[in-house]
C-alpha cells in the first residue's frame, strides 16, 4: 500500500470516528443523518440526470408573495400558541386571531363589548354574573361552542386537579395570568361557583365583587379552546391551537413564520376574514424588518425604531399608525436611600427634569409627557392634575432646604454612603423606546440642578433581577397595561400585602394610605365610584412625588400604503380579520 493510500484510509477512519463521536454526544439519530446524507447526495445526481427538463416544466409556480395573504413582520418568535399559558405579546398576536372569549375590547378603546357572549347581567352586590352565549358559533374542528365548552375551559385554567392542568404544570407550563387576575387556583380563586344554567347560559358566582372582572375576561388569555381539540392536543397544546376565531391555525415553522387561514364557518358573517391567509413572520432585527417592509416582503410591522418614524411618515409607499397610549415610563426612587425619604428631595428630582424636549425628541414623535401613572385614555386618569413646572433654580432651592446646598452626588443607601447610581434599561420597551438616550438626557438635566448621578446599566435579565430585589437606588422602568383597568396599572405597583410590608420590587415602597384607597377601588363594582377612588390615588401619588412619571408612548406600527382596515387597540390585542391588502 502506498503512503497516499495509507493516509486516505486513515482519514476515512477518522471521519468514521468523528461521526461516531457525534452520535454519542448528540442524540441517536445523528449517525443515520450522516449516512443518509451520503445516500441522498447520490440521489441528487441521479435525479438531475434522469429528468431535469420535465421537472422544471412541472415545478409549481410560486404564488406571488402576498397575493392573498396579509404578512405581518413580528419582532420575535412566539413562545407558545396556547393562550392560557402565554404571557408575551408576540405569541398573543397569533392567538388573538385564532381564539375568542366572552367579551373583547372594542375597536381602538378599552371599552368591553360582547364577543362569544351576547349579553350579561350582574347582580346588585356585584357577585353574580350571568352571561348569555351566542348560538351558532363553531370551533375550527367543527364542534359547537356552548356553555359546556366555557365550563371545560375554566376548569382547565382553574382546577389544579384537572388532568391536563396538572400535566401542563408538571411539564413546566404555568397559568400565570389566571392566577394574577383571578387571585389563584382552586379554592383560592375568586370563583365560588361556575355553572351552566342551560346550554347557552353561564353563571359565575364570585366570593367578592371584583372591579376589573369584565376587563379581565376581555384579556387575550381567557379565550376558549375547542374542548375536543384541547383534549387531543394534551400537553402539546402550544403547537395545535383550535378556537372559534376568524382565522384558523395552519403551520408554525420555528424561527420563521406562523401561517393562518381564513375560517369559512366563522360565526360573525359581516366580519369574516378579508384575506385568505395571515402569515406572521419572525424578523428579529428592527432595521431588517423595516427593509423587508420597504421591499414589500411584509405588509405591516411592529417595533419601529423611533429614529425611523419620520422616514416612514415621509415615504409615500408606507403609512404609520399610532396605537393609543397604554404605557407609562417612570423614574423610581428606592426608599432605602435615606435622601429619598425626604419629599423635598424627590420634588427637586422631579422639577429638575425638562420632560418636553426629551419626549419630543427621543420618542420619535410618538410620545406624550406624563405626570401620573395612568395614560390619559383610561377612566381613572385625573384630569385636574397639572405637571410640575420645570425649574432648575427652584429644584436647587428645594435641595438646599432639604440640607443639600451643594447638590447631591453621594447618598446613603441601606446604611452605606455610595455614589448615586442612576440605572437605565438595556433594552427598548414600549414606554421607553430609547432608554439610554432618555437616561442620559435626564442625568444632564439633573446635573444642572446639582444632582450628579452616574449612569449604569446591565443586561435585561440582571436588571430585572436587581430591581426585584430592590438593589437599584434610582432607576427607569415602566408599564404596559394588560386589561385597560386602572387596577392593573396603579394597584399592581402600589397595593401592599396583608401585612403592609414594604415592596422590594417597588423600591421598598410602603405607603399604606395609598394602598388602602387602591384596595377599596378594586373591590368596588360601579365604574363611577371606582374612577373617583383612582383619581384620588393618583393625586396622592402626585402630591407625594412617589415616582417621576416621564411619558406615555403611542407605539408606532408601519404598513404598506395599500394595507387598509387595521384597527389599533391600546392593549395591543389587534384582530387581523378586518385587514385588506390591496
Amino acid at each position: 500500500m502506498s503512503t497516499v493510500w495509507k493516509k486516505a484510509f486513515a482519514l476515512l477512519a477518522l471521519v468514521a470516528i468523528v461521526a461516531t463521536l457525534a452520535a454519542c454526544a448528540a442524540p441517536t439519530p445523528a449517525a443515520p443523518v450522516v449516512q443518509t446524507k451520503v445516500v441522498e447526495q447520490t440521489k441528487v445526481v441521479e435525479k438531475v440526470v434522469e429528468k431535469p427538463v420535465e421537472k422544471v416544466v412541472t415545478a409549481t409556480p410560486a404564488p406571488k408573495p402576498g397575493a392573498d395573504a396579509f404578512i405581518f413582520g413580528a419582532q420575535g418568535e412566539p413562545v407558545c400558541l396556547d393562550p392560557a399559558i402565554i404571557t408575551d405579546g408576540i405569541s398573543s398576536r397569533v392567538t388573538r386571531q385564532i381564539f375568542e372569549g366572552l367579551v373583547k375590547f372594542d375597536k381602538d378603546t378599552f371599552n368591553v363589548v360582547p364577543q362569544l357572549a351576547e349579553k350579561w347581567d350582574v347582580s346588585a352586590d356585584g357577585k353574580t354574573w350571568t352571561f348569555t352565549l351566542r348560538k351558532g358559533a363553531k370551533f375550527h374542528d367543527g364542534t359547537e361552542f356552548n356553555a359546556d365548552a366555557v365550563l371545560k375551559n375554566f376548569d382547565y385554567w382553574r382546577n389544579t386537579k384537572n388532568p391536563l392542568h396538572a400535566a401542563q404544570e408538571k411539564a413546566g407550563q404555568t397559568f400565570e395570568y389566571f392566577k394574577n387576575q383571578f387571585w389563584g387556583f382552586d379554592d383560592a380563586s375568586i370563583f365560588a361557583k361556575i355553572e351552566a344554567v342551560d346550554a347557552s347560559t353561564v353563571r359565575f358566582t364570585l366570593k367578592e365583587p371584583q372591579g376589573p372582572f369584565l376587563n379581565n375576561l376581555a384579556m387575550f388569555m381567557f379565550v376558549f379552546w375547542s374542548p375536543t381539540a384541547l383534549e387531543k392536543a394534551g400537553t402539546n397544546s402550544c403547537k395545535q391551537p383550535v378556537g372559534t376565531g376568524a382565522y384558523k391555525f395552519v403551520e408554525w415553522k420555528a424561527n420563521e413564520q406562523v401561517t393562518l387561514e381564513a375560517f369559512a364557518d366563522y360565526w360573525d358573517k359581516p366580519n369574516v376574514a378579508k384575506m385568505k391567509r395571515v402569515i406572521i413572520r419572525n424578523i428579529p432585527n428592527n432595521s431588517a424588518r423595516l427593509l423587508a417592509l420597504a421591499t414589500g416582503e411584509v405588509h405591516a410591522m411592529e417595533g419601529l425604531e423611533p429614529r425611523d418614524v419620520d422616514a416612514v411618515k415621509n415615504d409615500k409607499r408606507l403609512k404609520l399608525l399610532l396605537r393609543p397610549a397604554n404605557t407609562t415610563g417612570y423614574v423610581a426612587f428606592n426608599y432605602k436611600v435615606k435622601e429619598f425619604q425626604d419629599l423635598k428631595v424627590r420634588q427637586a428630582f422631579a422639577m429638575a427634569i425638562n420632560k418636553k424636549p426629551i419626549i419630543d425628541k427621543l420618542y420619535g414623535g410618538t410620545g406624550q409627557v406624563a405626570w401620573q401613572f395612568q395614560p390619559p385614555a383610561m377612566w381613572g386618569y385625573n384630569k385636574d392634575l397639572k405637571d410640575v413646572t420645570f425649574d432648575t433654580a427652584a429644584a436647587k432651592k428645594l435641595l438646599a432646604d432639604a440640607g443639600f446646598p451643594n447638590g447631591i452626588s453621594k447618598v446613603t443607601f441601606d446604611g452605606k454612603e455610595v455614589p448615586l447610581d442612576f440605572w437605565y434599561m438595556p433594552v427598548s420597551r414600549p414606554y421607553y423606546p430609547n432608554p439610554k438616550d432618555i437616561g442620559t438626557a435626564i442625568a444632564a438635566d439633573w446635573a444642572k440642578a446639582g444632582i450628579n448621578v452616574s449612569l449604569q446599566t446591565v443586561d435585561w435579565s440582571t436588571y430585572l433581577d436587581k430591581r426585584k430585589k430592590g438593589e437599584l437606588p434610582l432607576y427607569m422602568l415602566g408599564w404596559t397595561g394588560d386589561n385597560g383597568d386602572p387596577d392593573n396599572f396603579v394597584c399592581y405597583f402600589f397595593c401592599l400585602d396583608a401585612k403592609d410590608s414594604p415592596k422590594p420590587e417597588e423600591g421598598f415602597f410602603a405607603d399604606k394610605e395609598i394602598s388602602d384607597v387602591l384596595k377599596k377601588a378594586a373591590a368596588t363594582v360601579k365604574q363611577e365610584d371606582r374612577a373617583k377612588l383612582y383619581q384620588q390615588a393618583e393625586k396622592m401619588i402626585y402630591d407625594k412625588t412617589i415616582r417621576v412619571f416621564m411619558g406615555n408612548n403611542q407605539p408606532p406600527l408601519a404598513f404598506l400604503a395599500g394595507v387598509d382596515g387595521y384597527i389599533v387597540n391600546p392593549t395591543g390585542s389587534e384582530y387581523f380579520n378586518t385587514v385588506v391588502v390591496k
Binding site: A25, V56, R277, T295
Partner: protein
C-alpha cells in the same frame, strides 16, 4: 497515524467535559434567571419563586449537572425551560440551516480568497494587488452586522434583486425532509424552490463569508510570497517550466499549509459570525436560537447548543491537523 487519531479523539473527551462544566457553571453564575425574563416587568419575588418552582429550578446545582451529563451521554440534552421542546431534536432541526449558510460562506470565501491571494502575490505591487488587499482590509474591519444591512439595502431595497431575509419566501409552500433546503428541493425536483432558496442564501453567505474571505486572501498572499522567493522556485524557473506550472505545482502546494490552518480556524469564526448574520437575515439557524436562549436564560438550550458547537469545532480542528499530513509529506504523526 491511527494511534495519533485515537489519541486525539480521546483528548476530545476532557475538552468537551471542560466545556460542558464551564458553560453549565457560567450560565448559572450570571444573575437573573428564566423565570425573571419570562415575567419581565411582572417579576415580583413571589411570582419568580413560584415560576422557578414550577420550572424545576430549585434542585441543587451539582445534581442538575449530573443529570445533564448523564442524559447528554445518552443523546438527551433536556428540554427548553421556556418552550418545553426537546433540545436535541430542535438542535438537529435548526442545524442544517446553519450548516448550509456556513458552507456557502466558506465556499465563497475560498473561491474568491485563494485566487485573489495568488494573483496578488504573483503581481506583487500591481494595481490588482493593492486593490484586493485594500478590499481584504475592508472586509476584515467591517462589522458583519453593518455589512448585512448594507447588502440588504443595496440588493433588496434599491436594486430589487434579492430578498431581505428568511430561507424561502413567506408564501412558498415546501415540505423539507432533511432541512437542507438546497438538497431537499433538488431531491424533490422542485427547481423553483431550489432557485428561491439559493436567492435567499446569497446575501447572508456573502456577509458571513466576508471576513474569512479577506483573511484567506491575505494569508494566501503572504504564504505565496514566502514560497515564491524560495530557491526551488528559482530552480523551477531555471528548468524552463511554464509560469503556470511553477505557481500551481510548486508554489501553491507549499503554500497550502498556513492557508489550511486559517481555514480551520475560520470555521469557529463562522459559527460565531453566524449568530449576527442569522439575526440580520432572519435565518432560522442555531446561532440565533442560542442568542435568544442566552437572553432568556434558557439553560438547557445554551448548554446543549454550546456543547454541540464545541464538538464541531474540535472535530474540524482535528481534521485540519490530519490534513497537514496530506499536504506536507514531511509531517508524520507518531
Amino acid at each position: 497515524m491511527l494511534r495519533y487519531v485515537i489519541k486525539r479523539v480521546l483528548t476530545v473527551i476532557p475538552v468537551l467535559l471542560g466545556v460542558s462544566l464551564l458553560v453549565f457553571g457560567f450560565i448559572r453564575m450570571i444573575p437573573g434567571d428564566v423565570a425573571t425574563v419570562m415575567l419581565g416587568e411582572r417579576a415580583t419575588p413571589e411570582n419568580v419563586a413560584r415560576v422557578r418552582e414550577q420550572l424545576g429550578l430549585n434542585k441543587p446545582v451539582y445534581e442538575q449537572y449530573l443529570i445533564f451529563i448523564g442524559n447528554a451521554l445518552r443523546g438527551d440534552l433536556g428540554r427548553s425551560v421556556l418552550r418545553q421542546e426537546p433540545v436535541t431534536q430542535e438542535l438537529l432541526r435548526r442545524f442544517p440551516a446553519t450548516i448550509e449558510l456556513a458552507l456557502s460562506a466558506i465556499l465563497i470565501a475560498l473561491l474568491v480568497g485563494i485566487p485573489a491571494g495568488i494573483v496578488s502575490a504573483i503581481r506583487r505591487g500591481s494595481v490588482f494587488d493593492a486593490a484586493s488587499m485594500l478590499l481584504a482590509l475592508t472586509g476584515v474591519s467591517m462589522p458583519v452586522f453593518w455589512l448585512g444591512l448594507m447588502l440588504i439595502f443595496l440588493f433588496s431595497v434599491v436594486l430589487h434583486l434579492l430578498p431581505t431575509g428568511g430561507r424561502l419566501g413567506a408564501s412558498m409552500e415546501f415540505t423539507a425532509t432533511t432541512n437542507f433546503l438546497l438538497l431537499d428541493s433538488l431531491l424533490q425536483g422542485n427547481f423553483h424552490v431550489f432557485f428561491q432558496a439559493l436567492r435567499h442564501l446569497i446575501l447572508p453567505a456573502v456577509a458571513l463569508g466576508s471576513i474569512p474571505m479577506a483573511i484567506i486572501a491575505r494569508m494566501t498572499r503572504s504564504a505565496m510570497l514566502e514560497v515564491l522567493s524560495a530557491d526551488y522556485i528559482r530552480t523551477a524557473h531555471a528548468k524552463g517550466l511554464k509560469e503556470r506550472a511553477v505557481v500551481i505545482n510548486h508554489a501553491l502546494r507549499n503554500a497550502w499549509l498556513p492557508v489550511i490552518t486559517v481555514v480551520g480556524l475560520q470555521v469557529g469564526r463562522l459559527l460565531s459570525g453566524a449568530i449576527l448574520t442569522e439575526t440580520v437575515f432572519s435565518w432560522p439557524g442555531i446561532g440565533r436560537w442560542l442568542v435568544d436562549a442566552i437572553y432568556a436564560r434558557d439553560f438547557p438550550i445554551v448548554q446543549g447548543a454550546t456543547l454541540f458547537i464545541a464538538i464541531i469545532f474540535v472535530g474540524v480542528n482535528l481534521l485540519v491537523d490530519l490534513l497537514y499530513a496530506f499536504v506536507d509529506p514531511r509531517i508524520k504523526f507518531e
